[in-house]
Symmetry: C2
Subunit: 131 residues, 2 copies
DNA sequence: TCATAAAAAGATTAAAATATCTTTTTATCT
DNA sequence: AGATAAAAAGATATTTTAATCTTTTTATGA
């Protein structure tokens, strides 16, 4: 369905929603331990999201990752698009390369309704909903 | 969504539905050329499906792959399960390892309806429908 | 202002998925 | 029977993804 970075990100964000704030940041190694995600890999993923402003981080003592009030309103879809590639949902749900409405792939019409439903589900989820 | 073997299999099966029969078999290399799938890799995939009886093959001169009348009734879902693993749809749609109804993952309820819809779509498709 | 604790960044390694190459088996035609 | 054409099977190589290791930067507290 999704690659590991997306799945790991969701797990980490769940903790951030529940337990982080501007005054209480979480360390990568603690998130890694609790979620079972390899720490250096998780670090990379969170750095990416932080760079894009989807989550916050601070270096140095008492540093760590956290979510601001604004960031709790971020759409889960945007996290997924960042980690899977912007065009992830442009594709046919089967991932056929050259499938579009003009040249639908053999299973397009058979599956299209499910695809729409899936994307719609994701669009409705904000980070705060993962708490 | 799916791995390449599944996607390649679907493309190949489309051709088999349209153009193969007990008396007219298709060569791997011809299917490969038309679908753009690497030939030796496609060969592996078709061999797997043939071993399981989802498609037919014959060695030797005038050999090749084809679909019998019975095989045209095979469910696409069974092809996918063979290539992706039997438990592919047991999992949470996010692929979280330990997600089930008792211990749902954070996004489970938010996504579950889309998952049901997707599997249902696949269940309704027979190989003959890909023609 | 120095030591330290944290993320950030870069480089490297490992594992999994994808693709190719080589050899073997088998059916068919001459 | 022998030659040939095809799939089957096995071994190897390449690419991509995942994971780790090392160094750098930066904020904080003593």
């Amino acid at each position: 369905m999704f690659t590991k970075p997306s799945k790991y990100a969701i797990k980490a964000i769940c903790l951030l929603v529940d337990r982080s704030s501007e005054t209480h940041k979480l360390l990568v190694k603690d998130i890694a331990r609790e979620t079972g995600v390899p720490s250096p890999f998780l670090s990379k993923i969170l750095q990416t999201l932080s760079r894009r402003g989807f989550i916050s981080s601070h270096k140095g003592r008492h540093g760590g990752f956290y979510l601001s009030a604004d960031q709790r309103e971020v759409l889960l879809l945007d996290i997924i698009l960042e980690l899977e590639g912007k065009d992830h949902f442009q594709h046919c749900i089967m991932n056929f390369e050259n499938c579009n409405l003009d040249h639908p792939c053999p299973v397009h019409e058979l599956i299209a309704p499910a695809k729409v439903a899936f994307r719609k589900s994701l669009e409705g989820i904000r980070l705060k909903d993962l708490g």
